[in-house]
Amino acid sequence: MTEPLLRVEDLRTYFDTPAGTARAVDGVSFSIAPGETLALVGESGCGKSMTALSILQLVPEPAGYIAGGHVYFQGVDLLDYTWEEMRRVRGADIGMIFQEPMTSLNPVFTIGWQLMEAMAVHGKGRGPDTRRRAVELLTRVGLPEPERLLRQYPHELSGGMRQRVMIAMALANNPKLLIADEPTTALDVTVQKQILELIRELQQDFGMAVLLITHDLGIVAEVSDTVAVMYAGQIVEYATTRDLFRAPAHPYTRALFASRPSRDQRGRDLITIEGIVPQATAWPPACRFAPRCPERWPACENVAPVYQKLASPGEDQTGPAERGVRCHLYHPELARTRPEQPATLEVHP
């Protein structure tokens, strides 16, 4: 097995709030190998962005803090790094694209200045070469008239153009790991396709690994190798993309997949997930999904499920990635306490 590039272990990121401690990320573990794309999916508020920000040590302080865990990058725990050391890692070895592009570009500097600055900070120097590469990058993310763009300011660009500039900046130094939080939500499908293809090319050429956060299950299916499904600050299911879509194990994953509209569902009600993600200050005590789960039985409300390995059903298993799920349905003893029921997903009234 290839040594993982990134190994996150029991990561916990909490917030002090007037309502108590919000456990936004609550014991998350996963790893990403060089060249691999791991997708992090789940509903709004389940902790995806906070996981990404924790890896980069950009959790909003002082309310938020990393309460425990390890973030091994190339074998070294980034949580031991100083702010200055971390600053050098960000943007060089780890590129990042955030959810809100406007806040990450400085309104008073030109696009060219910011892009070349990002390249210069990390040791490549400034010169005609930098400029040539800046133009090349802007072209690669599909921006027209890159020469002109270098002289423009962020406010002169549309949201989609700004997002593409952000992507160019994240890729400027050929990072080993790209953390992309909803990188293409503001973009058109055709531009989105171009960006996803560019990322894939960089993975093939340089072995770049990607942590991709997205709501779009179509994107997950098309670009990711493995998927971690998050719910209420925890990973509830982990599998190769193929296994996950073929046979989602966790009732949450199943409901998430089944709620996707499509032409096949015309004229029928879509499956919905009853209720909403609870507050991070008050996760349900045992299984966090239990109150919304169509399969729940008393054990789910009394015993917290642990994350356990699952046999992979995939016949053409390509990687060594293991499967795991956090649900009593797969617990050898507790599953037996479940009253007899058809194992189908039911629509809630």
């Binding site: 499908v189 299950l217 179509g218």
Partner: protein, 268 residues
């Protein structure tokens, strides 16, 4: 022969003045360039296309919120832009809109009750404040929110709940036609399914007609009866969902369809 369409859009053109430099000549940007389509009562017509192709601009003109440069919109056979005063107000009531961002369309300082009764007052629906409040509670029930929500403010709700409040507000004046401009684009799939189920339910119960503007072709496949594909201000192709998805005639439509990430295609 079909009945008179509820909405009939004829050769709509919208030009916006653009100022390039201080001393250069005045120029115009043609945002919508001769768009025509009909929407039958009780059906859903989807408008798809790349960003900037003119979808929202068409929607705003259909709603009489933006005057067209040329062309006209007929509501039940009658031109809308010619109407004045009381008649125009009556039409405004018939046509409502729900936008992508429910934060932007709900006034943060208004309680849900105020938001839901504002339109009723303008259009003189409900005899008393009490009756209007009862109607508001009933609207919340229709969109699956508890009556306690009436006295709360928009920020106290999740994105999907806010979008349902925005839909309830659109319904508060008993419209016949709703423009839905990316109504679920900001929502989780799980919440999106709630909103889509609700929209379909309302269409069945109340015979509503929708103009559904979206980037999301999965949603189009699920919701729409007819689809028009826009490119640079023009409709390049139009047809039923099956026609457009299974047998696209235009290169642009094929490109658009191919660009949409699809679970089915990826796992084949």
């Amino acid at each position: 022969m079909t009945a008179t369409p509820l909405i009939s859009v004829r050769n709509l053109v919208k030009e916006f003045p653009v100022r390039r430099g201080l001393f250069t000549k005045r120029q115009v940007k043609v945002a919508v360039d001769g768009v025509s389509f009909d929407i039958q009562q009780g059906t859903t017509f989807a408008l798809v296309g790349e960003s900037g192709s003119g979808k929202t601009t068409v929607g705003l003109m259909v709603l009489d919120l933006l005057p067209p440069t040329r062309g006209e919109v007929l509501y039940a056979g009658e031109p809308i832009h010619a109407r004045k005063g009381r008649e125009r107000l009556a039409l405004r009531r018939q046509m409502q809109v729900v936008f992508q961002d429910p934060y932007a369309s709900l006034n943060a300082r208004m309680t849900v009750a105020e938001a839901l009764t504002e339109g009723m007052m303008i259009h003189r629906i409900g005899a008393s404040a009490r009756e209007r409040r009862e109607r508001a509670a009933e609207l919340l029930r229709q969109v699956n929110l508890p009556p306690e929500a009436l006295d709360r403010y928009p920020h106290e709700f999740s994105g999907g709940q806010r979008q349902r409040i925005a839909i309830a507000r659109a319904l508060s004046v008993e419209p016949g036609f709703i423009v839905l401009d990316e109504p679920t684009s900001a929502l989780d799939v799980s919440v999106q399914s709630q909103v889509l189920n609700l929209l379909r339910q309302l269409q069945q119960d109340l015979g509503l007609t929708y103009l559904f503007i979206t980037h999301n072709l999965d949603v189009v496949g699920y919701m729409a009866d007819e689809v028009a594909v826009m490119e640079r201000g023009r409709i390049v192709e139009r047809g039923t969902v099956d026609e457009i998805f299974d047998n696209p005639q235009q290169e642009y439509t094929r490109r658009l369809l191919a660009a949409v990430p699809s679970v089915e295609a990826a796992l084949r």
